[in-house]
């Protein structure tokens, strides 16, 4: 009964979404206030219906209702409760439902918190959200119904892919989708602005918090995914330039660009057309990601089972949404009035530089990801584009970006006294130089790029906080004075410093683990000791254990440091999930904060007692996750800035007298 309720609620949601799209759009076009007012309540109803539908599917998983095909294929009665619940989105159909739920949450949020939006803009934004909802709900109902029944019901389920039975991955898809789908709001605002024919500072101020929220979630989602790859796949790496990783990274890069260009629109009324285009493209790349993962167009370690019919449906949707929005852009964007002028050396100039580099990096990754497909379609045969391409093209684009990021936030709008800015960054430059040279000396002939990158990371980190110190006159005014200045500083300033500083920390992690990783693969006998990077690993042997729904071979290693002092016992495992008949490796990771020790066991020797053992020493890797967390924190702090919650600044109204629709907030 309950699965049917979920199914009906989803069908109703489709009908509501249709009303949510058609009525407000028509109302906004005709200037009919009553029709426009349909937007809010219908978005809330849409959210409620989708919530019911999602709850119904979750219920089917929780009670292991094996009359539902989706539950049979992805769950098992012996599975821990956490993975029964995460199993809901661990498969194609359920994850589509999660997508729809999150889309509805954002639509509902605009309806509930968008009180200070002009009615026609609000109606249009919600209508566009409804339109995207129609696409995804109909896709789910017609090609990927999660509520389908099976008769006779089997005795037990086929279990979830064991690789996905993992706490890191449990929350990776929801985070990632919150990011992907969050950009739909920026997209809806962009389309609404094109329909309205007006982009101003108020518009940018409304778009920014949504973009920022999406960015925070996407950062978290990507970091979680990378963390999962690091400890679950057992390869000791954290990024593989896999197509599925790339498609989540591209919206992040472009979303970062959007975040920054929206500031220029807000403060200086410039870069309007470009910002609109970025908003459209960022969400288009999110959609493209969904399409690529689910259509089996590119090979990847974690693609869903592909089905050409589904691929075609999503492609039609892509053509409609992306093609439609770009057509609208081509027609309406030229009518937008260009805004304020600025000198090349200015805050705007710095942000343009940021946008150019980020957009180029996105384009490079897009080309690298799609190149095999495009070459094949032109009859050029099959190729794969691997990490060397991405490292060669992406890294050189990021280095200047990090350099510019150091002084960007200190530059003044319109025109900057560059000598003054650089003068304030003497400390940062000195620290960067010392770090770079020290790295070069310590690594003794290692990669030059690593020293350069680490020096730049130090530059960015110190520069991010120099900016704060300068604004609070730290050490130059009495401490009490600095404190009161610090309290008066807008939170977005702290957000900028944290996000930039977090990136610097993460870069240090990337450089360390790439350049100075130590790897040892050998066959070890029980009792044997091996030295890796100054630590001694003693192999104590392997035990067979029984988990809740798997069998495990658990090895144990005693780790001691150079002085023979005890560090840790590490227990890497090999698991076999009998229901899915699938083995997994569980790496053992012991973090020393400045580095991780990482152990994985392979197979037992054919004759004898030895096991293949891989031990990695991963320097600075913890910085990667720490840096990601600090970046997210920066986004959250910035999001809590009061200025983002209140509407447009009053000046915007006086500066643009032709904007009657701009309503003062509060």
């Amino acid at each position: 009964m309950i699965p049917e309720l979920g199914h009906f609620a989803l069908i109703l949601a489709l009908l509501v979404a249709t009303a949510q799209t058609v009525v407000p759009l028509w109302g906004a076009h005709r200037g009919n206030a009553a029709w426009m007012a349909v937007a809010g309540p219908s978005a809330v109803a849409h959210l409620l219906l989708v919530t019911v539908s999602f709850a119904a599917l979750t219920w089917a998983y929780v009670v292991s209702d094996f009359t539902v095909v989706n539950v049979v294929a992805n769950s098992h009665s012996a599975k821990p409760m956490l993975y029964k619940i995460t199993g809901v989105w661990g498969n194609h159909e359920g994850s589509m439902l999660l997508w729809i739920l999150i889309l509805a949450v954002f639509g509902g949020a605009v309806a509930l918190f968008g009180g200070n939006l002009p009615p026609s803009l609000k109606a249009r934004v919600i209508a566009i959200q409804g339109l995207i909802g129609i696409g995804f709900i109909s896709f789910t109902i017609f090609t990927s119904n999660p509520f389908e029944r099976v008769f006779p019901p089997p005795l037990d389920g086929q279990d979830l892919n064991p690789l996905l039975q993992d706490p890191g991955l449990a929350f990776h898809p929801p985070m990632l989708y919150l990011g992907y789908v969050g950009f739909s709001v920026a997209f809806a605002f962009a389309i609404a602005a094109l329909l309205e024919g007006k982009v101003d500072a108020a518009w940018a101020r409304w778009v920014r918090p949504w973009t920022l929220a999406a960015w925070v979630f996407l950062t978290g989602g990507i970091a979680l995914g990378s963390w999962w790859a690091y400890y679950e796949l057992g390869w000791g790496g954290w990024w593989f330039w896999d197509p599925v990783e790339n498609v989540s990274f591209m919206p992040w890069l472009l979303g970062t660009a959007l975040l920054h260009s929206a500031i220029v629109v807000e403060k200086r009324d410039a870069l309007k057309v470009w910002t609109i285009l970025l908003a459209i493209l960022t969400f288009s790349l999110s959609l493209l990601g969904t399409f690529i993962v689910r259509s089996g167009l590119l090979t990847s370690v974690h693609a869903f089972a592909s089905d050409p019919e589904r691929g075609l449906y999503i492609l039609m949707m892509l053509i409609f949404v992306i093609g439609g929005s770009l057509t609208l852009f081509a027609i309406r964007a030229p009518t937008l009035k260009p805004g304020g002028l600025f000198a090349p050396i200015s805050r705007e100039g710095g942000l343009v530089m940021n946008n150019l580099l980020l957009a180029t990096a996105t384009a490079t990754i897009l080309i690298g990801t799609l190149y095999p497909l495009i070459l094949d379609s032109l009859g050029g045969g099959l190729v794969t584009v691997g990490p060397p391409f991405f490292n060669l093209t992406f890294v050189p684009l990021m280095l200047p970006l990090v350099f510019v990021m150091g002084f960007g936030p200190m530059m003044a709008w319109k025109r900057t006294d560059m000598a003054g800015v650089l003068g304030r960054l003497k400390v940062a430059a000195a620290v960067a130089l010392v770090v770079g040279l020290a790295t070069l000396y310590l690594q003794n002939g290692g990669p030059l790029l690593a020293a350069l990158a680490l020096g730049l990371a130090a530059w960015l980190f110190v520069a991010a906080f120099t900016d704060l110190a300068a604004k609070t006159k730290l050490f130059r005014a009495p401490l009490a004075d600095s404190w009161s200045r610090a309290r008066g500083l807008p939170r977005s300033q702290y957000g900028t410093a944290l996000a930039h500083g977090g990136l610097a920390i993460a870069i240090a992690g990337m450089v360390g683990s790439t350049a100075w990783k130590v790897e040892s693969i050998s066959v070890m006998q029980p009792g044997e000791t091996k030295d890796v990077a100054g630590y001694s690993f003693t192999f104590e042997g392997v035990e067979r254990l029984q988990g809740p729904n798997y069998l495990s071979e658990t090895a144990s290693f005693t780790v001691r440091d150079g002085d023979g002092a005890f560090v840790a016992v590490m227990t890497p495992e090999k698991r076999l999930y009998p229901v899915a008949n699938m083995p997994t490796t569980e790496a053992a990771i012991h973090t020393r904060w400045l580095a991780d020790l990482y152990a994985v066991i392979g197979d037992k020797e054919e004759r004898g007692e030895g096991w293949t053992v891989r031990i990695y020493y991963e320097p600075l890797v913890p910085f990667l996750w720490l840096g990601s967390l600090v970046m997210m924190l920066g986004g959250i702090v910035s999001l809590s800035d009061r200025r983002l919650r209140v509407g447009a600044p009053r000046q915007a109204k006086t500066r643009v007298p032709a904007g009657p629709a701009v309503q003062p907030a509060e």
Binding site: T299, L326, A330, L373, G381
Partner: protein, 180 residues
């Protein structure tokens, strides 16, 4: 002229859309990778027989016999190999194609049981417990099957199990081609 610039994103997207459409429509399989070894002599190797199985071992010299040979890489632990086995038997017995095997990363007793259970259609089997030779052949997984012509050159590579529908459409034409 300036207006054309605004159409540029749309034009680029249309190009990508056409490529996507083609890719979905053509039934292209991205996991199909051509072997770098096609039309090259099989790599040099010499493998001993499986302990306890009286089929002789396999070396590169055994491939250049003037006859087209299927080289099948299998293992007892590999489930798709079991599914594929009857098809290999059929290719050998009914179509009369010479079949040799490489037993990949397997324990001899398991391999012997596998062959006993499912019959042994291979005229020669090389045991490759460490997977060294598999590396030379550029294996991406088990099973894989190679069509080697009479001069010992690799002519076709099949990744994954041979499905019964692929016998007529892929394997037999490749063997026919190699016989020319």
């Amino acid at each position: 002229m300036r207006y054309l610039l605004y159409f540029l994103p749309l034009v680029i997207f249309c190009g990508a859309g056409v490529a996507f459409w083609w890719a979905l429509d053509s039934g292209r399989d991205p996991s199909r990778l051509p072997s770098a070894l096609i039309d090259r002599p099989a790599p040099e190797f010499a493998l001993p027989p499986i302990e306890g199985v009286d089929t002789p071992g396999l070396a590169s010299g055994d491939l250049a016999t003037g006859e087209v040979t299927l080289v099948n890489v299998f293992a007892s632990w590999c489930v798709p190999c079991r599914a594929e086995h009857p098809i290999l038997v059929r290719l050998n017995k009914q179509e009369g194609i010479r079949l040799v095997g490489i037993n990949y990363q397997d324990k001899p007793e398991d391999a012997a049981r596998f062959l006993e259970e499912l019959t042994n259609p291979y005229s020669r089997i090389g045991a490759d417990p460490q997977g060294r030779v598999g590396l030379d052949w550029g294996l991406t997984g088990v099973p894989e099957t190679f069509v080697v012509d009479g001069t010992g050159r690799i002519r076709y590579r099949h990744v994954g199990p041979i499905h019964s529908s692929e016998v007529e459409s892929l394997i037999l034409p490749a063997v026919e081609e190699a016989r020319k």
